[in-house]
Structure formats: structure tokens, C-alpha cells
């Protein structure tokens, strides 16, 4: 508001007379002095403050939008749990198997053939073109339906699946999924037990990250598509992957909220960027990870809005076949699988999957012999399988030639391979790919939450990284910072400390990547300008044993080097106040 002219004039006239009307100074904030690099020999004084804002049980709530706003790197590095694909595969394969004929007609031929294999029973099995064709046909000569012969051999009902669906799911998990490198190792913090920062993934599971929740698993196809078995080896075999496309996979509702309670000094540490002698802020969260969460509080982590079913809007899976027809074996040895070359194929190939599926199905077949007689009661045909799955068919009375003996799986894999190429598909063209839409898979959100909490409690660092990101207060590029231990420490430990930054202290950009490399040739504080006598150490204070640190008091002189190789002398001055420190910094 502007004073009316008469009054304003009056005040202006009053000022020269006696300061009346002019005694109140307007509050202003001067522009900060420009930061500049010290010249060699130049000294500048810097004052640092250590302020504690100890928040207790501070609840950080993140909605799904908040989560999505986090950098992708942060999201992808926050491992939640290893999610078992068992039920998911069961449902997906069941949906493929049980889809309506109309839907099935729209499938590619290979997928149709795959579907038929999933549905294959003794009753509908087409053995045309296989070694079994003639053998089963023998059954006709004894007036027994071939389906009964096959069912009896496999000890299943004539309308039962020759290979049970659960066995197929299990095999797909064990061979196809588990052989994928992404399903074997996940990234985690580097420690003594995990020097490369790689952790095993539970078998039959895929590692689920916060990024998966946030992005509706949009990276699934990338992560579980083709991938080298050894990323570091350019000649490494390539796993073809098993997910070609994934869209709209969600296990969270829009009301999703993740609330985590933290107890922390919420303020950043104040340090000095020796490059320009500016005061910088170092994010304090990472250094407090050990005390950040109170796992004794059952509500230290709350997650709401986990759905009770996984919704898959669209998922395209694929299984590759070998480019050539690989026959089943014909010898008992080597036991227990036999001599088929299929066993030497990569585990993710169709032939191997079917072979293993049949082998596992055979495991439930008891040793037995089925005999089929002519009307005269003369034995005409005998089909036997022993406890190892070795199958032998014998004919009598010269009614025809039986197939050579083989393991049950050697026989069945031939059927599967032939059937996979029905419809005129050439060998090598029958890679199976099928797309499913609107699949809903029941999940147990409580169990998932329990698993997530258990994992976080075992390693809270990843969650701390999110807390660090959400509470990102870093500013500038400090080379060291000022710290005062908690008052709960013994008196001898109290005082003023200088901490040399670690790689974790480097400020992160919007993508959660460090804004600069950690290029310190000689981290720490030294007693001499040549930096030969280190006087700092990573002593344990308030749970931190990673920072080079040193207790200082007025009159102390230290030497250090920044990440550009410039050396400095630090002279500790008289304390301006209990929570402040003053340093005279000279560039050498």
C-alpha cells in the first residue's frame, strides 16, 4: 500500500528533523556473494552449522503417483520380493488350454498346436506319423479302443491329460523361467557376501521391484525377453526369453499407498565444496540407515491398495523350438534319462520342456504291464513300463511290428514334436507364441506384504534409498561436512567432527544418478600437506563406519585434497556457538 501523498510528504519532512518516521529499517536480504575458486595461497573463512531436527516416527506416505514420480533407477533398484510365477503360469496355461474354439481359431498355427498339446489326452491324441501310430493301431486288432491302450500305459483316464497341467507349469517354471538370467540373479547392495551386488532369485520366481508396481510391469518384456546368459561375455549364449509383450499388468489399485515410518535427523549435513568454498548440503538419510526404521513397530511399513488379483490386460509368451527334429532316445543309458539328444538342448527349448514334462509325468506311472488278447484268449499285445519309465511293447501271434523300446518320455516327445508341426509347419517354424488378454490371477496381498516387510527388514538400504530420494535435500557438491554425534554417546565421543564424503554422499540428479564421479585420490584428513599422515579414520559413530572422520577443536590444522586434486589446509577457529564451527580454508 502506498501512503497518501500528504502523509508521505509529512513523513519525509519529519525524517530530517529527528529520525521520526525513519527509524524503522526495512528487512532486506542481500544477495549472497558469488562463490569463486580459491587461488593458491588464498584463504577464506567458512562457518558451518550442525542442526538436529530429530523426527520420530515420521510417516512418509507415497501414493501411486508419488511412486511413479520417483526416478526409474530408484524404482528399479527397490526390490520388493521374489514373486512366484507358479499360480500365474497355471492360470495362463489354463486359459490357453480352455479358451473357446472361436478364440483358438484366431491363434497362430503353432499356438494352436501348443494348445492341442496342452489338451492332449489318450482320447484325443493323434499319433499319426509317430512310432506309436502302428503300435496303437495293433489295439484295433484286438478290438480295444486305442485310447484305452494309451491311457492304460500312462495310467490315466482316457480323457485325462497325458501330461498334467501342473506338471507343465512346473516344468515351464523350472526350465524356461528359471534358466533366464533375470530370474536367477537380481541386483542388490554390495557387501562382503555379495561383492558384485548380485543376489539369487528364488526358484520359479521373478524379482519384483517397486518399478514393476509403478509401471504395471511394463518392463517385463525387456527384462524377460532375449538376454545373454553371461552379460559380461559377448559370446555368451542367448536365452530367448519367454515374454514378448506385457501390457497392463497390475497388482495395485489406484488407491495404493505405501507409508513408512522413519526416525531420523531430517536435515541435511552442512559441508564445504572446496571448489568454490560454498556451503553445501549432504543428504543425511543414507548415513542413518541403521536406525532409520523401527522394525519393532508393527506399523513401520503399511501398504494399502494391493489388489486381491493380478490383472493382465495382455501378455504374449513364447517358447522356442529347436530348428531341427530331435528324436527321442532309444537306449536305457545313460540313466536315468536315456540317450536322447534332447537332454543336451538348452532347457528353454520346446523339446526339452516336453521331454522333461513327460519324464515327470512318467514318474507317477507305476511299473506295470498291460496285456491285450485275441478273442481266442491268446496274448496278442503287451505294453509294459518299468519303474524307470522304460517302455516296451511286444506283439505276439504275428499281428504286427511294435515300436522299439524306449523311455516313456522318448516316445511322448516324438508325439509332441509331430503334433507341434501340424498344419504344415516346417521344422523350425513352430516357435510357440500366444497372447492372452484379460487374465485375472488371485493373489494374497497380505502374504505379499509380509514378504515385502521381511525383505526390507533384512536389508533396509534399498528402502532407505527411496527415503533419501523422497527427502532429497542435497545441494552443492561438498567434499566434507560437519557432524556432531548424538548426545546419547559417551562424553568422550561428543564434539565436533569433520566427515569426508563417501560415494553415497554424492548428490544425485533427477534420474538418481550421481552428478559427479567419486574421484578422490586420497579421501580423508591428513596431518601434513603431503598427505602422507592420515589422521582421520572410519571410526564407528552413530552407526556410521564408512566415513573418514576426525574430531576437531579450535587450533587444529588439517590437510586434504578434493576431487580435482587441489590441496587445502583447514584451520579450525574458535567456535561461534555450540552448534557451529568456523574454518579458515587455505588453498595450497
Amino acid at each position: 500500500m502506498i501512503a497518501p501523498r500528504p502523509l508521505l510528504l509529512a513523513v519525509l519532512l519529519a525524517c530530517p528533523l529527528g529520525q521520526a518516521g525513519c527509524i524503522v529499517d526495512e528487512v532486506t536480504v542481500p544477495d549472497p556473494p558469488p562463490a569463486s575458486e580459491l587461488a593458491p595461497g588464498e584463504t577464506s573463512t567458512v562457518e558451518l552449522r550442525f542442526l538436529r531436527f530429530e523426527v520420530d516416527g515420521f510417516q512418509q506416505v507415497m501414493t501411486i503417483d508419488d511412486v511413479r514420480a520417483l526416478p526409474k533407477k530408484t524404482l528399479d533398484e527397490l526390490w520388493l520380493l521374489d514373486y512366484s510365477l507358479g499360480e500365474t503360469l497355471d492360470t495362463v496355461l489354463a486359459q490357453l488350454r480352455d479358451m473357446s474354439p472361436t478364440e483358438a481359431d484366431a491363434l497362430p498355427q503353432a499356438a494352436k498346436n501348443m494348445r492341442n498339446l496342452l489338451k492332449m489326452t489318450p482320447d484325443n491324441a493323434s499319433l499319426v506319423g509317430t512310432k506309436l501310430e502302428e503300435a496303437i493301431a495293433l489295439a484295433g486288432t484286438v478290438a480295444i479302443p486305442p485310447a484305452k491302450v494309451l491311457a492304460a500305459l500312462a495310467q490315466v483316464g482316457v480323457t485325462d491329460n497325458l501330461v498334467p497341467p501342473d506338471v507343465i507349469s512346473e516344468v515351464v517354471l523350472d526350465l524356461l523361467v528359471s534358466s533366464h538370467p533375470t530370474a536367477q540373479k537380481r541386483k542388490g547392495p554390495v557387501d562382503a557376501d555379495h561383492p558384485e551386488g548380485l543376489y539369487p532369485v528364488a526358484e520359479g520366481s521373478i524379482p519384483m521391484t517397486l518399478g514393476d508396481l509403478a509401471s504395471n510391469f511394463e518392463s517385463l518384456a525387456d527384462r524377460f525377453g532375449p538376454a545373454p546368459l553371461d552379460p559380461d561375455d559377448p559370446m555368451s549364449p542367448i536365452h530367448p526369453g519367454f515374454i514378448d509383450k506385457a501390457y497392463g499388468i497390475s497388482i495395485v489399485e489406484e488407491t495404493f499407498e505405501m507409508a513408512v515410518k522413519v526416525s531420523v535427523n531430517a536435515l541435511p549435513y552442512k559441508g564445504v565444496d572446496l571448489g568454490d568454498l560454498s556451503v553445501a548440503s549432504v543428504n543425511s538419510i543414507a548415513s542413518q540407515v541403521d536406525t532409520l526404521f523401527d522394525f519393532d513397530d508393527p506399523e513401520w511399513l503399511k501398504v494399502e491398495g494391493l489388489a486381491e488379483e493380478m490383472v493382465i490386460q495382455e501378455l504374449t509368451m513364447s517358447i522356442r523350438e529347436n530348428d531341427k527334429f530331435v528324436t527321442g532316445g532309444d537306449a536305457r543309458d545313460p540313466k536315468p534319462e536315456g540317450n536322447s539328444e534332447i537332454w543336451d538342448l538348452p532347457p528353454w527349448e520346446f523339446e526339452h520342456l516336453i521331454m522333461e514334462g513327460a519324464r515327470r509325468a512318467a514318474a507317477s506311472i507305476a511299473e506295470h504291464c498291460d496285456e491285450y488278447r485275441l478273442a481266442t484268449d491268446a496274448l496278442a499285445f503287451q505294453a509294459c513300463i518299468d519303474g524307470e519309465g522304460w517302455t516296451e511293447m511286444t506283439t505276439f501271434a504275428d499281428i504286427g511290428a511294435p515300436p522299439p523300446p524306449a523311455y516313456f518320455w522318448d516316445i511322448l516327445v516324438e508325439v509332441a514334436q509331430v503334433r507341434l508341426h501340424d498344419g504344415g509347419l516346417a521344422e523350425g517354424d513352430a516357435d510357440v507364441q500366444f497372447t492372452l488378454r484379460d487374465v485375472r490371477i488371485p493373489i494374497d496381498p497380505d502374504a505379499i506384504l509380509v514378504e515385502i516387510k521381511k525383505n526390507f527388514e533384512a536389508d533396509p538400504s534399498a528402502l532407505a534409498a527411496v527415503a533419501e530420494r523422497v527427502n532429497d535435500a542435497a545441494e552443492g557438491d561438498a567434499d566434507f561436512y560437519f557432524y556432531q554425534p548424538q548426545l546419547s554417546n559417551e562424553a568422550a565421543l561428543q564434539g565436533d567432527y569433520l566427515y569426508f564424503v563417501t560415494a553415497d554422499d554424492i548428490r544425485k540428479d533427477d534420474e538418481a544418478e550421481p552428478v559427479r564421479p567419486y574421484d578422490y585420490a586420497k579421501p580423508g584428513f591428513f596431518a601434513d600437506a603431503e598427505l602422507t599422515d592420515k589422521v582421520s579414520s572410519p571410526a564407528l559413530i552413530d552407526g556410521d563406519d564408512t566415513h573418514e572422520k576426525i574430531k576437531v577443536s579450535a587450533g587444529d590444522v588439517l590437510y586434504m585434497e578434493d576431487d580435482a586434486g587441489r590441496r587445502f589446509k583447514l584451520a579450525v577457529g574458535e567456535k561461534p556457538s555450540p552448534s557451529r564451527i568456523k574454518l579458515d580454508i587455505t588453498r595450497l
Partner: protein, 486 residues
């Protein structure tokens, strides 16, 4: 976090200053009163143009037109020795929940602190005009004067800085009056005033006392139980990080009020007067600026929604009510040389319960904490009604010379619970001498010297230890007036 700005007003005590040409009559008595308005000869039974303020009915007794012009100088000496009686944490720490761990208590912040002194010097002035438009019946008048004023200039870093650092507040009246002389015994008068106010002040705003700040910390997303707010105990107050310099500048108020008076002359020697001055609602509208340039406010908690600009500026309104008052006076002419008179005022300072300060700025808003761009804060005053009594003896040694002496008393408006250097108040003793030299029939020269002071007031019951300590106040005013009669 909070952007509540608690602005205290420097009311009472010190001295009133002049608004230049419209010079106030300044300094200050109890509450907000300037020590004198008009001359030392003015009062509710005085027959001069300053009756426009004192008792407009007395204008009816004027036989001639009169112009009264005055100026002067006011000198004040206000001293305060703060006495910390509570516990205080080390100012550069930040413990927000009382009781604070003993390790954080600042043993040095206890007991008496260095005395702070304000010595304001200010010019004064006023102007009154009256003219009988109908002889012996109707007199009209106009006046410009300053009945309320205060100026303070304490050290910015003194122990009083959270109360006030600098202040300048005036309220001036431009009044038009009319008086009707009913007969030789009774006159009635009334005046209507345009009230123009001007205020500036500065202090350290303690965010620990701001309710929105405490609420912001306790509510989501921060959710930390804390002791901040208007009832904050001393151990969470006066922290460096929360002590933010604030100024209110160029605040102007426009309002209106009135007064009515009755003058009765039972005999030629005895004069009685009664005046009612109505209250005035003051709304000083100006600009505020607050220094938020601490990384705590500008950066460190930005992710929690706390991020102020280093300098927050915006509009501010300082609102309070000037009190109504009832004044009764009596004068008796003993003989041609001697006269005595005096008055008794009852001033309804209990009208002032608090000073309300409303600040508005888009830069105040912190939506994440539920804080909008407008904040209203009340500073409790809970003042008491006061009395003001004065007695004068006037002696005329010659026909052209009149001498006067004054003794008086004003009771204190501020209770111990709320007194501070914004109103360094106390029971005051008043003394003054004056003289009138009648140069000729038309021109009179009037000189006055007036002093008032409080006995050292030691306060130990200040709420939250905000204003405990010893207050001293002395104000001297010298003034000269020209009185033209025509």
C-alpha cells in the same frame, strides 16, 4: 511451518513523534496516550481552541476566533533489563518438544541481561482553529493533532528483539467541531474526526510462538508432536533458526471517530466539563517483509513442502482499537491571580485485548502443510482500563503573564502478564510547568515543559517469560505555541 507473523506494536510508553507539519503532541502516557495534546493550559475546562480534543463544548465559551499553533521536541529515555526466569535451550539448536533434554539447556541464558536503551527524539506539533460564527451561540472549530503516538529504536540484537526492535506509530486526528452555547451556564459541543494513522515496526518474529508453525509440524506429512504455538514454553522459544527479522513498513490507516462534550458554569468562578471520546478502529495497511533466509526454511525441508523464498514480502494489516474515554474536569478561579483546575479520565483500554496482524502473500503459502497465503495472528495485550488524573495551579503575577504547574498520575494499562518493550508501561507520575505571555490583546506566547516517568517496574509474571525484567521510562517534552485571537 508457519508463516504466521506476530507483529507486536510499540504502543505506550516512549515518546510520540511528530508527523511533520502536523506535529503530534506526542510522547506517551499510559496505554497509547500522548502525554499532552494542546498546551499545558489545555484541559476539559479550558477555553481555548484545543477544546476541539479536550471538550468541544468549551468552544461555546469562546468570544473570539482563535488560532493555536504549536511545535516542540520530545526526548525519551526508555530502559529495559531483561531477566530470563525460564529455561532456554541453546539458541543454535532445534529441540521442538518441551521439556528439552537438559544437555541442550543454555545455562548462560538465565538471569539479567544487558540493559537496552532507546532514546528517541522527535519533533511535535499541532494546530487548532476556532471561530464563533454566531456570537455567543455557535462556535465552529477545526484541529489537527496527534492524541496517540509511539516511537522506539532499540538495539536490533538486544534481549528485547523478540518484542520489538524499532517502532513508529502515530494516530492523528483531523477534527471538525461545533459548540452551541445554550446560555451562560451550559454549552454543548461535538466533533467528528478523520483519523489518519501511520505505522512502521520491526522485530524478530519467533516462529516458535506461531500456531500455524506448530500445526504444520504436528500435522501430516511431518507429524511431529511439538510444543510450538502461542503457549510455547520458554525452552522452545528464541531459537536462532526460528527467529526471523520482520518489518512492517508504510502502513496507513483511515478511520473516523467523534467526541461530544458538555460545559457547565454553575458560577462565574466554577467551571465544569465532561467529554466523551469514542473509540476508533485502526487498520494500518502496509507492506511486510520477513527474512526467511535460513536453509531450514528455504531448502532443507523442501521435500516436505516447507520452502520459503529468502525474502517474503506482501501486504499486512495491523488492527486494533483505540479506546473510548470519559473525561470530567473542574476548574475554580480563586481570585484574579489564582486558579486551580484538574480532570479525571477513565480510559477504556480494556477495549484492547490484542493486536491483530494479518499478512498476505502468495509466498507465504505452503500448501503441503495446509498453510494458505493469508495469516492472522493475535498478539494478546489484555489491557486494563486506566485512570488519568491531573491537577493544575495557575498563577497570574501580572496581567500579561500566566504561570502554571501540573501534577498528575496515570495508571498502567499493561498487566504484568503481557507487558513488554512494545508497551513499556507503568504507573506514571506527571509533572509540568508552563507559562503564557500575553504579548498583546491578540497574540499570546505559550511555553510548556512536561515530564513523566514510571518508577522502575520489575516484572516477574510475564507470560512465557516474554517480558520479565525491569522497565524504566522517562519522557520530557518542551513545546511552544502561538495563540492568535481575532
Amino acid at each position: 511451518m508457519q508463516r504466521t507473523l506476530r507483529l507486536t506494536l510499540p504502543l505506550t510508553a516512549t515518546l510520540a513523534t511528530a508527523l511533520a507539519l502536523v506535529a503530534p503532541s506526542e510522547a506517551q502516557a499510559s496505554g497509547l496516550d500522548a502525554p499532552i495534546v494542546g498546551t499545558g493550559q489545555s484541559g476539559p475546562v479550558s477555553r481555548d481552541a484545543s477544546a476541539i480534543w479536550w471538550n468541544p463544548a468549551q468552544l461555546g465559551n469562546l468570544k473570539k476566533g482563535e488560532l493555536l499553533l504549536g511545535g516542540g521536541l520530545i526526548i525519551g529515555d526508555i530502559r529495559y533489563t531483561r531477566n530470563y526466569t525460564g529455561n532456554y535451550q541453546t539458541p543454535d539448536s532445534f529441540q521442538f518438544k518441551s521439556p528439552v533434554d537438559g544437555a541442550y539447556i543454555d545455562a548462560a541464558k538465565s538471569g539479567q541481561q544487558d540493559q537496552v536503551v532507546a532514546n528517541p527524539i522527535a519533533p511535535t506539533g499541532n494546530a487548532f482553529f476556532a471561530y464563533p460564527v454566531i456570537k455567543d451561540r455557535l462556535v465552529l472549530g477545526a484541529g489537527f493533532y496527534v492524541p496517540y503516538a509511539a516511537a522506539l529504536n532499540f538495539p536490533k540484537t538486544g534481549a528485547q528483539a523478540w518484542q520489538v526492535q524499532q517502532a513508529f506509530i502515530v494516530s492523528s486526528n483531523l477534527t471538525g467541531s461545533a459548540a452551541v452555547r445554550i446560555n451562560d451556564y451550559i454549552s454543548l459541543g461535538a466533533g467528528v474526526s478523520y483519523v489518519l494513522g501511520f505505522a512502521e515496526l520491526s522485530k524478530l518474529q519467533d516462529f516458535a510462538s506461531v500456531p500455524e508453525f506448530g500445526d504444520g509440524l504436528s500435522n501430516p506429512p511431518i507429524g511431529q508432536d511439538n510444543s510450538f504455538g502461542p503457549d510455547a514454553p520458554s525452552d522452545v522459544r528464541e531459537l536462532e533458526v526460528l527467529s526471523r527479522p520482520i518489518s512492517l513498513k508504510r502502513a496507513v490507516s483511515h478511520s473516523a471517530t467523534f467526541n461530544v462534550g458538555l460545559a457547565v458554569n454553575p458560577t462565574k468562578k466554577l467551571n465544569l466539563g465532561l467529554n466523551y471520546q469514542h473509540s476508533t478502529n485502526m487498520n494500518y495497511r502496509g507492506r511486510f517483509a520477513i527474512d526467511m533466509n535460513d536453509s531450514f526454511f528455504t531448502h532443507d525441508l523442501a521435500s516436505q513442502g516447507v520452502q520459503f523464498k529468502p525474502l517474503v514480502v506482501g501486504d499486512a494489516v495491523l488492527a486494533f482499537k483505540l479506546p473510548k474515554r470519559l473525561t470530567a474536569g473542574a476548574g475554580y478561579t480563586i481570585n484574579d491571580r489564582w486558579r486551580v483546575d484538574g480532570f479525571f479520565s477513565y480510559i477504556f483500554y480494556s477495549d484492547i485485548e490484542n493486536f491483530a496482524v494479518t499478512t498476505t502473500s502468495p509466498d507465504l503459502a505452503q500448501p503441503a502443510l495446509g498453510i494458505g497465503d493469508t495469516l492472522t495472528v493475535n498478539l494478546p495485550r489484555n489491557w486494563r482500563n486506566t485512570v488519568w488524573v491531573e491537577g493544575n495551579v495557575r498563577f497570574r503575577p501580572t496581567e500579561r503573564l500566566l504561570l502554571s504547574g501540573t501534577l498528575g498520575y496515570q495508571s498502567s494499562a499493561s498487566p504484568d502478564s503481557t507487558v513488554d518493550t512494545t508497551s513499556p508501561d507503568g504507573n506514571r507520575l506527571i509533572g509540568g510547568v508552563g507559562g503564557v505571555l500575553q504579548v498583546n490583546e491578540r497574540l499570546g506566547l505559550i511555553a510548556d515543559a512536561r515530564m513523566q516517568g514510571i518508577l522502575p517496574r520489575t516484572v516477574t509474571d510475564s507470560d512465557y517469560d516474554l517480558g520479565n525484567g525491569t522497565y524504566k521510562l522517562f519522557i520530557a517534552a518542551i513545546a511552544g505555541h502561538l495563540q492568535f485571537r481575532f
